[in-house]
Symmetry: D2
Subunit: 312 residues, 4 copies
Amino acid sequence: MVIMTTTSSLTFLPVLERIAEEIGRTPGRGRPADYIPALAARDPRSFGMAVAELDGTVYGVGEWRQPFSTQSITKVFTLALELAREGDELWEHVGREPSGNPFNSLVQLEYENGIPRNPFINAGALVVTDRLQTRTGDAADTLLAFLRAESGNPDLDFDRQIAASETAHGDRNAALAHFMKSYGNIENAVPTLLFEYFRQCSIAASCADLALATTFLARHGICADGTRLLTRSQAKQINAIMLTCGTYDAAGDFAYRVGLPGKSGVGGGIIAVVPGRCTLCVWSPGLDERGNSVAGVAALDRFTTLTGLSVF
Amino acid sequence: MVIMTTTSSLTFLPVLERIAEEIGRTPGRGRPADYIPALAARDPRSFGMAVAELDGTVYGVGEWRQPFSTQSITKVFTLALELAREGDELWEHVGREPSGNPFNSLVQLEYENGIPRNPFINAGALVVTDRLQTRTGDAADTLLAFLRAESGNPDLDFDRQIAASETAHGDRNAALAHFMKSYGNIENAVPTLLFEYFRQCSIAASCADLALATTFLARHGICADGTRLLTRSQAKQINAIMLTCGTYDAAGDFAYRVGLPGKSGVGGGIIAVVPGRCTLCVWSPGLDERGNSVAGVAALDRFTTLTGLSVF
Amino acid sequence: MVIMTTTSSLTFLPVLERIAEEIGRTPGRGRPADYIPALAARDPRSFGMAVAELDGTVYGVGEWRQPFSTQSITKVFTLALELAREGDELWEHVGREPSGNPFNSLVQLEYENGIPRNPFINAGALVVTDRLQTRTGDAADTLLAFLRAESGNPDLDFDRQIAASETAHGDRNAALAHFMKSYGNIENAVPTLLFEYFRQCSIAASCADLALATTFLARHGICADGTRLLTRSQAKQINAIMLTCGTYDAAGDFAYRVGLPGKSGVGGGIIAVVPGRCTLCVWSPGLDERGNSVAGVAALDRFTTLTGLSVF
Amino acid sequence: MVIMTTTSSLTFLPVLERIAEEIGRTPGRGRPADYIPALAARDPRSFGMAVAELDGTVYGVGEWRQPFSTQSITKVFTLALELAREGDELWEHVGREPSGNPFNSLVQLEYENGIPRNPFINAGALVVTDRLQTRTGDAADTLLAFLRAESGNPDLDFDRQIAASETAHGDRNAALAHFMKSYGNIENAVPTLLFEYFRQCSIAASCADLALATTFLARHGICADGTRLLTRSQAKQINAIMLTCGTYDAAGDFAYRVGLPGKSGVGGGIIAVVPGRCTLCVWSPGLDERGNSVAGVAALDRFTTLTGLSVF
């Protein structure tokens, strides 16, 4: 895999530079997530953005090589890893529809017999990780190995401090897991599942790492080494779920402003896919009230506006 | 209005013919909506599909010139007409996010102080029609005039029998309207609003009519006569809402299978937009359990698969 | 002041006088209901309290002869009138269980297919009035005739100004009625029902009138003229519902503090029953946050404490 | 402890005998709880009933000395023990209002920031046990000691098999506990709390034991040894909560049919209080659809009908 060689493929570098310059002039960045100390400590002025081309070239601006906490972005990769193993049967245990109001998460689970609406709300991600754990015996390690391979970065690792913090503040996820288990929709012991889940969320990676790790979705399911992880149809499926459910309760706004399949995390990162063309990852720790990076959404908005790559 | 002139623009006709042939061989069409007699009487084997090019050329297969009841498809047009008049202030009265479980519609309204999640659930469409009524004094007539102009078909009209049937079975919509009025989010008298709303839903039109009437969205806001109805940004906004919220509780599935902004109605019609390229309208009265035309979704699925025009 | 003459039955007059004196020294009365102007205008310092003995003797303190707006107190009487006509079949259309959080009123109706939890929440009272209207053709007039007969006061009447105000602010009740009608649980046209319902709530009566009108419940179903309206079992049924559901979302507190079957109204009145012994009515327009008269609850609390008549 | 000495106090024995005879002739007993094997194995034809007088005399009919699983009946005693220790501050952590529809338990917690509606729903009982654990360090042992002292039966004990079964099926309670902990309304570690809670529910006792153990509520707070556990007001408070919330989602029906403060458990037992007079305990394992003993409710219904002791 190549980081950057031929100038011909640095297509979007001027665009990234313009965006970074604009973002640098913009005040107002939101506030970092504050429910765990390790996230709250990040500087909201930090900003990085990377593009990965289909051939593995990656380039970026700002702090695009600075590792940050991936958090919910990892939900995309565990979904891919488990969908590859289980196929369509997975959809009997987790839905593919937007979840609507976060207020309704628990009543929704009760109303729909413990089947979460989609794999990107916490309840759904717990189901996916639970099933990956059943099939692999080490869900978080399987994920880490995949991210190392796709990013070409063997130094990617868990952040033990963050995993411990998440565990200490993990009662809501524990409630979700026990509740779904009461419906028979969780297979492993809840403490085991939570251990894997919080480790998964704690992985630190940079914009460069994540843009590269996401390219299998832009390549319709083909990994960095040329092997096929997902069928073309499955890759399309994940892209569709990212567009409709990838940014918490702001999927509608994100679809309008950015118009690309994307997935955000409370660490301030967002990945996005231009199917058949490239992937992006942007990072800035300041969040809006719905948990998405303020500068990150703004940067992706500018990118699709400037390049005309938006879906709509 | 021109049906077909230059052969060069009948690009997708062979694709449509192949789809019609496949659909014709497929058993199982779902059941027509049965809550009002006029809809229940339609033959579930009926099928028509039309494509409208940006230049106003339209062509199709099957019963593509047969009028059917547009129902919720009209929500797209009233949204465009009101957004053009009111601009972004509209979004203070109706949201742009998927609604999640239909079960929660009323509790969502209560939780969010009478602001519906998006303009395509019934509560949201009532708000849009209410505001259009305030601005025009004759919301349904304004809509009809627009559809006649865009389709080039002066014979489009309300179906009085269907409007009467809807009114007779309209208690749930009446409940929604009164409930939102109790929060101050409905401006007109509820009976006036319901009269306009049920007339709006009763308009009969063919696939040809609707494909043509939708082209302003593929043309980024430009009407058939070259005038601009919406800004480019507003057109993009509506397309994004169609993709994330256009097919009731199946938006995720629709995004995955079809991958185009679309809007369905319980009359069995579905419109879809390929931004910058063309529009489609398909019709078959048999519905799945979530209220979308079975053959219609299948036909659009095949279209994007065969043409590669899917977003993802 | 004394209506009837035998001194032997003025048992509780000293207690009432002590309570009135205590209440007079207590600051803090809450605020009158403000959703309609006619209620908001009442002086929160007003206070009256009456006791009616089983033999029809009535006496009181303070403004016990001053008419006020009965509002939800009338729900007790329409329930009795309809239960007398329909018997246990009524319970197939309205439940007898506490409703819990008011927030859930609509989702409860949706979850339980349009059957309200009990006859004292608005949805349940609408069902009762609807059914009484079906059986009598003039529900509100039937109620008024009953109240006049039981109170011995032919001057009781509707307050047209209040009925008109309620109608003007009646969207939430209209929503409930239409919503239940969509489940087939309302028989009359919604405007007809609301007309009867708002007239019912508008009846003005004094503490003396209401204490006397309630005595049929203390007499286990026997009216003032000695005829039987309810079976002993039905009277017990209504008393039980008053205890568990009579004071909105404060039934638990009321049961603890007062320990008697009671029903409050936002006009500031509360009726209470000591089965087999007497009835009480207290009035003071200032309400607490849950819609019950502050001084009214305090007075009943003192009454049961001083007399030892509490159930517990 | 005295079983029976003076003939004068066996007041209700003939009534009990008549009830037992009637129940014996009645077919249809419902089904034992089946979510844990140890409960499902009980014979639904079993029946016992005991009365305890204020002086400690106890007598009964049928299997009134047969131990059964107390389950939710213990919630009354932990509430008394904790209310005695903490006083009114307890009510800042758990409410006193009926909970309405069981469906809404979780959404209610979410809506009201983790404060359960009352101490007799599972969420509320978990809060009470949690706080008792904080104050005692051994909540379940404290409860057991109290029950032994009040019943005069030193052989009362936990049923380890049932406690283990409950733990194995305890995901819903674990979900509730974690969920409330996420709101800061649980003080102890969730596994510690659940260990205490399931041991508490597992205590086996007979009708005789429980009738005696409940008499402190009929004696307005005075224990068997003459010491005061609760103030008169606190005893009244608990009786009121039993009447309005003691029988799951059937409190309204129970109030109407029985008209006494009562508390049921899924083991088939029900305790009831005639304040100032006596207590009752009835047991029969067959349950109705709402979790209350079919023969138990019928027996209490007959008791209040035959003795006229009903509240209403």
